[in-house]
């Protein structure tokens, strides 16, 4: 049975001092229901994705659910670190595919700015195996990716300049995205001269700490006909995988095995053997610039080790062979953990509908690729959407 996306939305990302977590979630829910042309009554199941380790509302699913008008339906709370959004969409998808629901909504919501930066770093640094990593060595989330950057640079000659080019592209796109946290362009010099956060990563290699929400409404093919919705983006395939919690249990630091495995599964199910030719738009998980470079390789846009050069080539810019993160990426649009994966669905659906305005890509296959990573490759989801 086919499952389609019938409504999407995304809040403005950034520092959202004006809303609580449930109010922020409702912003997205309202807009997604309007987009689908349905009401809460038409929804069978709500899935609330929220990592919320920085929040005061330790069990946010029920307050979010009540505020959004879904009391009595669900909620299923989903958490997969930074891949919580894709995990929530996957949960909604499987509930429909298994006929437990006809219509399900995936809500991704995160408030990250209510605590100070040092606390935020201490929470992100626990995204691994606490006793063996943070407790002794003070790992931070940027630090995990910085270790990958050090290995990638040593093995393949990837440069700080290539990483900076990913940031410049992200900001160029985000400047045109009204939902983005940072709507300003930066220069290569700005990026290269920014202060070191965790060597070799500098300020502009890192996504900001943002608040945000997004929602996606999924429905069965049967229900879509019944509702009379004719503009549908279908979920063509889904792949998922994971890797070890402990960095010391990994086989390599120049890529994310979970991404490779998730992509294999999604590509096999969608019949994709050359994503650059078969996909019109890709959203990849660029929480740090090195993450986007590794994603190019792990998703087979280029060969392992050539991600830095691929970033330089311009092929991932708007108008390139495979435009990547035309919405500004996590890097410049922002990365409110659980909202990110759901917001990727929003950005892909907008592109596939041809509604992306100045950021619109050329549609040949009417196919979009989503890549959402949790932790440092602890989780990975790859999804293919088709209109």
């Amino acid at each position: 049975m086919r499952v389609g996306v019938v409504g999407v939305s995304c809040s403005k990302f950034g520092r959202r001092d004006d809303v609580t977590i449930q109010e922020l979630a409702y912003e997205a829910v309202k807009e997604a229901l309007d987009d689908a042309g349905i009401t809460q009554d038409d929804v069978d199941l709500s899935v609330v994705g929220s990592v919320n380790t920085r929040g005061y509302e330790l069990m946010p699913a029920v307050p979010v659910n009540e505020y959004c008008g879904f009391a009595g339906k669900g909620p299923l709370r989903v958490e997969a670190a930074c891949a919580t959004g894709a995990a929530a969409v996957y949960t909604a998808y499987t509930s429909i595919a298994s006929k437990m629901a006809d219509v399900a909504i995936a809500i991704g919501v995160e408030k990250m700015t209510e605590v100070d930066t040092a606390t935020s770093l201490a929470i992100g640094g626990r995204a691994g195996s606490y006793l063996w990593e943070f407790h002794q060595y003070g790992t931070t989330f940027p630090g995990y990716y910085a270790m990958h950057a050090s290995a990638h640079m040593a093995k393949f000659g990837t440069t700080e300049k290539q990483m900076a080019m990913v940031a410049v592209k992200a900001h160029r796109n985000a400047a045109k995205n009204p939902k983005a946290h940072f709507q300003k362009e930066i220069t290569l010099e700005d990026a290269l001269n920014s202060r070191v956060i965790t060597y070799p990563l500098k300020l502009y290699d890192c996504s900001p700490i943002s608040d945000g929400s997004a929602a996606a409404i999924l429905a069965s093919e049967e229900k879509i006909k019944e509702l009379g919705i004719d503009d549908v983006v279908w979920i063509e395939s889904v792949g998922y995988a994971s890797d070890t919690a402990n960095m010391t249990r990994r086989e390599s630091f120049v890529g994310l095995k979970a991404t490779v495995l998730a992509a294999e599964m999604a590509y096999r199910r969608a019949g994709i053997d050359d994503p650059v030719k078969q996909v019109d738009i890709a959203t990849v998980h660029d929480c740090f610039t090195i993450a986007e470079i590794m994603a190019y390789e792990d998703l087979e846009f280029c060969r392992k080790g050539e991600g830095g050069k691929f970033a330089e080539s311009g092929e991932t810019d708007l108008g390139g062979k495979i435009p990547v993160n035309t919405f500004g990426g996590l890097k410049a649009k922002g990365h409110p953990l659980a909202a990110t994966g759901v917001a990727m669905v929003y950005e892909i659906v907008k592109q596939l509908r041809g509604d992306a305005g100045e950021l619109q890509v050329e549609l040949k296959n009417y196919r979009g690729l989503l890549h959402n990573v949790g932790g440092t490759g602890h989780f990975a989801y790859v999804m293919v959407f088709r209109r």
Binding site: D17, Y56, D116, T117, A118, T119, L121, A122, G124, G125, S129, L131, W132, E133, F134, H135, Q136, Y137, G138, T139, T140, P142, G143, A146, M147, H148, A149, S150, A151, M153, A154, K155, R195, V196, I197, T198, Y199, P200, L201, N246, M247, T248, R249, R250, F253
Partner: protein
């Protein structure tokens, strides 16, 4: 307008009964891994049970290792403010296991030796020294 939340502090008591050998070992300058007597799997961090069901024994991580990845943390997380300057987290390979530790002036490919020491907060851990 904001309302400040009530303060919540959590201090956990983490059981290390099954890995006590490891934590005591650090205080004696030894870094232990776990090796399965049945299937040969080596675990670092060590664990008292092998997934094959076999019995596990403790073996020291010794000799020279090779640096595979590192980062020097300049933006320091809460809990490590006491370390007034940047610190370098390193992952090095020793045969079949990889170990995390603190090091100074390392780069990928460097040969390093393992040792243990206590930091200013009294926590024992792994340090690497470039050979």
């Amino acid at each position: 307008m904001f309302i400040e939340s009530r303060k919540l502090e959590m201090l956990h008591k983490i059981p290390v009964v099954k890995t006590e050998k490891y934590w005591k070992g650090l205080e004696e300058g030894k870094v232990y891994k776990a090796v399965c007597k049945n299937c040969g799997e080596e675990y670092y961090p060590p664990r008292a049970e092998c997934l094959c069901g076999g019995e596990v024994e403790w073996a020291e991580v010794e000799g020279e290792g090779v640096v595979e990845a590192f980062t020097t943390v300049h933006t320091i997380p809460a809990g490590f403010e006491w370390h007034k300057k940047p610190y370098t987290i390193t992952i090095a390979r020793f045969g079949n296991v990889r170990v995390m530790g603190w090091a100074e002036n390392v780069k990928v490919g460097d040969r390093i030796r393992i040792k243990t020491d206590k930091d200013e907060t009294g926590v024992w851990k792994v340090y690497f020294e470039v050979v």
